[in-house]
Symmetry: C2
Subunit: 168 residues, 2 copies
DNA sequence: ATTATTTACTTAGCCTGCTAACTAAGTATA
DNA sequence: TATACTTAGTTAGCAGGCTAAGTAAATAAT
């Protein structure tokens, strides 16, 4: 009788594990989408979507005149993915792309005065969004959270690198 | 002299805050993409991509014969997003869609025997991937991590709901 | 010096999230 | 009963990740 019960418990435990299995990846995706949506809602009045304001912001932090490649690396996305976004920002007149004298392959991205204007307007809103989304989370909890993100990211990167090695 | 120094420190602090501002959203996106990529690499041999195996898995957990709407809700994606995935799974012969007698609007999704086969093969691989990605993270840290994800998600959902209210 | 490799950029096209707009079926109300 | 609203499914098209494949410039190797 007891063994049957413990067997049942063990089966339930397995089921729970399976459910949790998915939930982390799912919740991660959901959180990412939610965060983007919230930021989008807040910033669309400025004509900015998540990838666009992220690029603008990073560009400012990188000190403006950097190559597209450097910007893509800083944003941790592929250069090809950045192209579309930069094209849109250029159309909106927020950035400019110039040829580089030193390296004729490269194109240097810089903020226009309109771009700087928009960045100023963005700043307050982004900080506000972040504050609202992180409400009720202490600094300690937050840094712990970020630590775990880094840990999992490192595991994933390492695993991908290994796979690539195996194939090559 | 001292006041100038403390002013400088305060400015640096602000800069740091601004940098951290972005990093969380960015790292979240990066982690999500990485996780998906790793899972994809592991499961493509079975002809499965992330959305596909997630849908299969959830379908099994929901007890098979559910409507597309129920499945979409469980996956926390829009029904329209699920349509394409279910179409692909149907093409692969892993699921079937039947009309529902009780509600002629609804279509019931069920796993085929081929679908169940694939699920069996999936199981070990997914658990392995999860184990590798979560290597070096204790159960306590993990549950804390998930708690923070939920907290931020709740904040984001609440904020979005508020925005919708304001507009309506 | 010439050739081979690497690097930055670009284009094209896939994937899967989304919203918008439509149909058909069920439900509620006048 | 007839009309209005809601809900499930569907299609179409956008957004922004990605890889693949090509060009031109820079660098390394012979």
């Amino acid at each position: 009788m007891l063994s049957l019960l413990s067997k049942l418990v063990s089966i339930m435990q397995q089921e729970l594990d399976r459910l949790k299995e998915l939930s982390l990846a799912e919740h991660l995706g959901r959180l990412h989408r939610l965060w983007r949506t919230v930021a989008d809602v807040e910033l669309t009045p400025l004509g900015l979507t998540h990838p666009r304001w992220t690029a603008l912001w990073k560009l400012l932090r990188l000190g403006d005149n950097v190559s597209q490649k450097v910007l893509a690396d800083a944003l941790e996305i592929e250069l090809a993915s950045l192209m579309r976004t930069l094209g849109q920002l250029e159309e909106q007149g927020l950035v400019e792309r110039h040829c580089c004298d030193k390296d004729k392959r490269a194109r240097i991205v810089s903020l226009t005065s309109a771009g700087l204007d928009v960045l100023k307007q963005m700043e307050a809103r982004i900080i506000q969004v972040r504050r609202e989304l992180l409400a009720g989370i202490s600094a300690t909890e937050l840094s712990e959270f970020e630590r775990i993100i880094s840990l999992i990211s490192d595991n994933a990167s390492a695993k991908l690198a290994k796979v690539t090695d195996t194939i090559l």
